[in-house]
């Protein structure tokens, strides 16, 4: 998890801050692609979903954003392990229940950002898990 890892005083920009900016960039990316962002940091008891968006075809997209400066510890998307997936799925259920959207098409995406200085490359994995 970006927020808790590394960081420290030596780091000019903390991991938390990096993650936040990554989510920002991911949301902007989705909007550019014609998605309507419904929720940011949707937080409920079991956990949090970074972005909930609606695609042009009305599919609900639950996106997890992972930002990394280095691939030394593997690709960002690899950090979304089974436990994290289950957590996101539980949160998604929560959201669907709350908004009475159970009959909608859903999808779970992972958006990974690799940061190189001021630039970042975005990789959008649609339907990353289920």
């Amino acid at each position: 998890m970006a927020g808790r890892a590394a960081g420290g005083e030596k780091d000019p920009m903390g991991a938390k801050e990096l993650g936040r900016r990554g989510e920002e960039a991911a949301a902007a990316y989705l909007m550019r692609r014609g998605y309507r962002v419904l929720e940011r940091n949707y937080r409920v008891a079991p956990g949090e979903i970074d972005i909930i968006a609606e695609a042009a075809d009305h599919t609900l997209v639950f996106a997890e954003v992972k930002t990394r400066r280095t691939t030394r510890f593997g690709r960002p998307s690899e950090a979304v392990d089974y436990r994290k997936q289950q957590k996101i799925i539980t949160c998604a259920r929560w959201y669907l229940q709350e908004n009475r959207l159970q009959e909608r098409y859903c999808r779970f995406d992972v958006i990974e950002l690799n940061v190189h200085g001021e630039k970042a490359t975005i990789r959008h994995i649609k339907g990353a898990f289920e």
Partner: protein, 510 residues
């Protein structure tokens, strides 16, 4: 959307049609596979999805539920990959559902969407026909096997996309036709023409083949017991179509059919090593699979070095020998496998091998207690089920060096077939087909011993202190000998030869 299709699995030696129901609905995406799938079937989820993707079909992620019915049958065939894939595509409306109503699908999928062969296609095809299904979609390698069944159209598939194009009507497949492989000329590599001498043993095997009797050969090392036994299947009558289908079914399930092989036309010859376990012999496993006795169905089970087999392995042979089928009970299933075979056993008379044979130039060095321990391994009840006991002596030099070819198997088989025809005519009403299968009552009714023969039997009975069981056995073997001679009544010479064939071979029988 909902779609239903048919796949199959095997249970024992029978196929079982499995209804594959697929439902695709909105909501959280997921893939649920229910209906008692085995590990290999559970994994099909990944193969199916990847195969579909790599066949160039993109499916949006939805809530997918796959149900395999009936729910109480354990599904352990990788061949369910294809029906699941087809059901899924139909539920996504890629395929028309009407096309699936009368079809059975059985193939494993590879990740690139190719179809792989599975075992047990023949029994599945039989089950499909019984269910009234008319179209069979199998991997190309399995097509010949499926074609053994009449009345169904068989399609040989190479890939999933080929099937999709066929079902959508884009590019129809042509039903497969039987290949040349189906009618193979039988050529036995082992022929009795290669066996010099051993006339008595050959005669005994001929009688055994004619009457379906079990044989025990006792002889010194190198006397040719194994050589003789290996040629046993070459003198047995050719398999009838029904027998061949039954054997093919068993081999199909055991996964022992040669690649692209159709019908098994040769009688099986099984020769398990003496370290074989009880389970290897009669079958077993949590869902029981056929053992050696079943693989030898309609053929020959040859046990070389009989006393080296463990006692328990030998004792489990009693039921299959007696009932011609074996019932195996395990947690997941109780199954009955057929095991109608001729048992041929070979052994040395003692641990060193030379007991009671002066001609070979060796003298036996075993102590009486060693010999007793060696021969006692075979229990009376087991030996009782072996009708013919013979000694196979050392081969003489003159016989061995003879350039003259011995009688070929084909000639012997002609006589055997003639005798079998007489037998099956006599036994037609009883539902059995050879003399060895007669019980005491049938024996009394169908094989009267009269006149000279009766006197001789009486004499032998008193002189040799025969038991009731060996009395029956002698009559059975005598009947076969008479059938080989083409005689309607059992005569004195037949009885005399039969008595010889249960002669004392140094074992603790009676």
């Amino acid at each position: 959307m909902f779609a239903k299709t048919q796949g199959a699995t095997t249970l024992g030696i029978d196929g079982r049609i499995i209804d594959v129901e697929v439902d695709v609905s909105n909501g959280l995406p997921g893939f649920e596979l229910v209906g008692l799938p085995d590990a290999s079937v559970k994994e099909s989820k990944e193969r199916v999805r990847t195969a579909i993707k790599n066949s160039g079909i993109a499916l949006r992620q939805e809530r997918v539920t796959v149900n395999l019915a009936p729910a109480e049958v354990r599904k352990d065939s990788a061949g369910l990959d294809l029906p699941i894939a087809v059901g899924l595509l139909a539920a996504y409306a890629v395929l028309p559902t009407e096309a699936l109503a009368k079809a059975l699908f059985a193939a494993e999928l590879s990740l690139d969407g190719k179809c792989r062969p599975v075992s047990g296609v023949l029994p599945m095809a039989i089950a499909a026909r019984e269910r009234g299904l008319t179209e069979l979609f199998v991997a190309a390698e399995n097509a010949d096997e499926a074609l053994l069944i009449d009345g169904v159209k068989v399609y040989a598939l190479h890939s999933l996309s080929e099937l999709v194009h066929h079902l959508t009507g884009e590019a129809a497949l042509v039903p497969a036709v039987p290949g040349q492989a189906a009618e193979r000329a039988e050529a036995f590599s082992d022929d009795f023409a290669d066996v010099q001498g051993q006339f008595q043993a050959k005669r005994a095997l001929e009688i055994a083949a004619a009457g379906g009797h079990n044989v025990l050969m006792v002889g010194v090392p190198g006397s040719g017991k194994t050589m003789l036994a290996r040629r046993m299947s070459s003198i047995l009558p050719a398999l009838t179509r029904e027998e061949a289908l039954e054997v093919t079914k068993i081999y199909s399930i055991a996964g022992l059919l040669p690649p692209g092989g159709g019908l098994v036309t040769e009688r099986p010859f099984r020769s398990p090593h003496h370290t074989a376990s009880q389970t290897a012999m009669i079958g077993g496993g949590s869902v029981p699979r056929p053992g050696e006795v079943t693989l030898a169905h309609h053929g020959v089970l040859f046990l070389d070095e009989l006393p080296e087999f463990s006692k328990t392995t030998l004792e489990v042979l009693r039921q299959p020998l007696e009932d011609r089928r074996v019932t195996i009970s395990r947690v997941h299933a109780t199954l009955t496998f057929p095991s109608s075979m001729i048992l041929v056993c070979a052994m040395n008379p003692c641990p060193c091998g030379y007991h009671g044979d002066a001609t070979s130039g060796h003298t036996c060095e075993c102590s009486p207690s060693e010999i007793r321990r060696y021969t006692q391994k075979m229990s009376g009840p087991l030996l009782d089920r072996i009708d013919i006991h013979i000694r196979v002596p050392h081969v003489k030099y003159q016989e061995l060096s003879s350039r003259k070819k011995a009688e070929p198997s084909a000639a012997i088989r002609a006589r055997v077939e003639k005798a079998r025809a007489i037998e099956s005519k006599r036994l037609a009403g009883a539902g059995i087909f050879c003399n060895a299968q007669m019980n005491h009552a049938m024996l009394m009714e169908l094989c009267p011993v009269e006149g000279e023969a009766k006197t001789m039997l009486e004499l032998a009975f008193q002189r040799l202190h025969l038991s009731a069981r060996s009395y029956d056995r002698i009559i059975k073997v005598a009947r076969t000998i008479a059938d080989l001679a083409g005689e309607a009544h059992i005569g004195a010479p037949h009885i005399a030869e039969a008595i010889q064939l249960r002669g004392d071979v140094g074992l603790n029988v009676e």
